[in-house]
Symmetry: C2
Subunit: 409 residues, 2 copies
């Protein structure tokens, strides 16, 4: 099996120096820790804490709660945590061989018994304890919930509607813009997708013949996309239970406990059949592509621009790496990721400010391409009583044929 991912400097750190290398290793260790701690953490947070709370109720209230089946539900959730954990274990094992000095020695297939794995995991946490590290970083455990939701968005039938709303306009635009190029020659066109997440959009672009690279900063996403892209052999071979984590706005227990089958298509089989125009690259977008000069025909950003602390840097990078006349296709709202993170600050632009900036950086926005009426959820739980709907602008911008001298302004 061919791995199609280029795993390069995943956290955007240089690996030139020993210190950085150690930091990088520690970052990966923390992330592996989160995956491996999922079961312990979720059992406590979702099940035991609630059982304790129910136990602390006045006796007559406790009886009422037992009578409506809540404890039965919590016990069922405990079992489903195991299923999610099994996916996370597989992600860790399938990725451990990628890392130099592998974090874990065995991969799951080469382990002779389940016991080997349990023993190894126990040693992993002993080592962290001996270094004074917590079993996992609390905010990392939230990332695992996001991973489950992202699997739904990118690789399940339930995600089809939001992919239709936000990926299809991008794919259509690419095909329209490059309609002069015969499909058989499309692999000569290079498309970059920064913020590729679990890789579905980039994979769809490659499936249409373009040479496409997804770029992703988060190791959580990179490890998970590697797993779904390169190691899932059959359609719908895995059931995950993303909604057990949500106790609010649930209509009924069946909704909360329902499985989602992934993947809805098997990229593994495409790669096995010789598809070789797709890759993933890890690391911070601005750093990974800092030496690229006018080599990409198109850059596609989908729910990505708002991950910037400094959006000028993103825009200038996109501008720099695009060939003259190259296109930037963007879709997504402006949920600036650093706005509410304590101790962080960022430059959060309005859509209007962003459009002026895009023009000032040297792009020509195709006014006719702008769509303001796309309403889409993101990683939606479609059975939830609460919906988040983004009014997400879409536009196409082109790098002008004549280079502007940015420094001269």
């Amino acid at each position: 099996m061919q791995s199609l991912q280029e795993q390069s400097c995943g956290n955007g750190h240089s690996v030139d120096e020993n210190d950085d290398y150690e930091l990088e290793k520690q970052a990966i260790n923390d992330i592996v820790a989160a995956f491996l701690y999922y079961k312990t953490y979720s059992s406590k947070a979702l099940v035991y804490n609630r059982l304790k709370q129910i136990d602390s109720l006045p006796e007559s209230h406790r009886k009422q709660i037992v009578q409506i089946g809540t404890i039965h539900k919590l016990k069922a959730i405990e079992k489903l945590i195991d299923s999610n954990y099994s996916l996370f274990l597989n992600i860790v094992y399938q990725n451990s061989i990628i890392f130099e000095d592998g974090i874990l020695k065995n991969d799951i297939e080469s382990s002779e018994t389940v016991y080997d794995n349990i023993k190894e995991i126990s040693e992993f946490f002993s080592l962290r304890r001996s270094k004074g590290l917590p079993p996992a970083l609390p905010h990392h455990l939230d990332k695992l919930k996001s991973i489950l939701n992202s699997f739904v968005r990118d690789w399940s039938d339930e995600g089809a509607r939001e992919r239709e709303l936000t990926y299809t306009p991008v794919l259509q635009a690419l095909e329209d813009i490059f309609s002069d190029c015969p499909v058989s020659n499309r692999s000569s066109l290079k498309v970059l997708v920064p913020g590729a997440g679990l890789g579905r959009l980039a994979f769809e672009i490659a499936s249409r013949g373009f040479t496409c690279q997804g770029n992703e900063f988060s190791y959580f996403m990179l490890m998970s996309s590697n797993y779904i892209l390169n190691h899932c052999k059959e359609k719908f071979e895995i059931n995950i239970y993303p909604f057990i984590h949500q106790f609010s706005n649930v209509l009924n227990t069946e909704d909360q406990l329902r499985p989602v089958s992934i993947p809805d298509i098997s990229p593994f089989q495409s790669f096995n059949n010789g598809m070789n125009n797709f890759s993933m690259a890890g690391g911070d977008f601005v750093q990974v592509y800092q030496d690229d000069n006018e080599i990409w025909d198109a850059v596609v950003t989908c729910f990505f621009i708002d991950t910037a602390k400094n959006p000028v840097h993103y825009l200038e990078t996109i501008y720099k790496i695009l060939k003259k006349g190259g296109v930037w296709i963007n879709i997504g709202p402006l949920l600036w990721h650093f706005e509410d993170i304590p101790g962080e600050s960022s430059v959060e632009l309005t859509f209007q400010e962003l459009m002026v900036l895009i023009s000032n950086v040297g792009f020509s926005v195709d006014i006719k391409s702008i769509k303001m009426d796309i309403q889409s959820p993101y990683s939606e739980n479609k059975k939830s009583m609460l919906k988040y709907i983004y009014n997400t602008p879409f536009f196409i911008a082109r790098k002008k044929e004549v280079n502007m001298d940015l420094a001269a302004e």
Copy 2:
């Protein structure tokens, strides 16, 4: 001017003992501190931190940001913070006379100069400092944003649509259920609204002739509702700027900086014209009404049930205080307020579990009254690129004429 609020044990604490009284006083002091610290805090969080971030950008990027008007926007926001602060100052001053041993000595009208107020506020914070207290509790400052949003929901034209979606079905139900009672006799019917927030729904019920009491736990809400109900003499006399706090998902600066005029109607004038069938009561719902036995004709809960840590307690209280045959009208989703609060735990029910529990507690749910198709925002910023839409069930339940023996189960 007649104050129509009964301010009783606002945080649900008993005031029988000195210790509790001191705790209560400290709680009020903390809340007043948040109101008074709003300007300092918001100027830093919204304006200065962002200016600092822009200053730290590479020179060419800083120029780009200046060019698109972002700094101009931040300076404008700084001025609008003053307008919001002026409202919060008024709320504090108009409420300070309510508290025994008034937190602040003067009310704004009796102060001879603005300087008197500034000096007094400075003394207030000196006193907190001398006690080792922070200027304000960080999570309290978020409450002020909620207050601004609640003013939009309850007392502005912008809130009309969501009031129409969630208050109108309740008002209609009350009028239908009690249609046998002539309007002139409606004041004999007692309606309680727990979780009354800024009081609009309770006021609308009273405006239709019912004797209505709103109950609210939060001092932030109680102080703010007292202000809007009893001290705003004219329609639209105040402009607030609730949206300056949101830098994400903004289409343009005008949207972010736009004023909202409140109140859209003046309850003050109704009270002046002799309306005397409306009151507000402060404190925890379960505690405040623990001695009420079958005295209410109707209980109306709107976006309230999910504030419970123990929903059985809420349901049993509603059951106990309703007259035999009395009605409970409920609308709202199940966004269990304690689900994600660290260190807290609660019993979060699905809608299905809730309905079974309601029946087990002794209510008879009117199946025909159940509406599952109401889709409503809550405290919406209607210009935002992100919408939160609740699929919010509505139902009417009736306390059975024959009492059930709960203890016998």
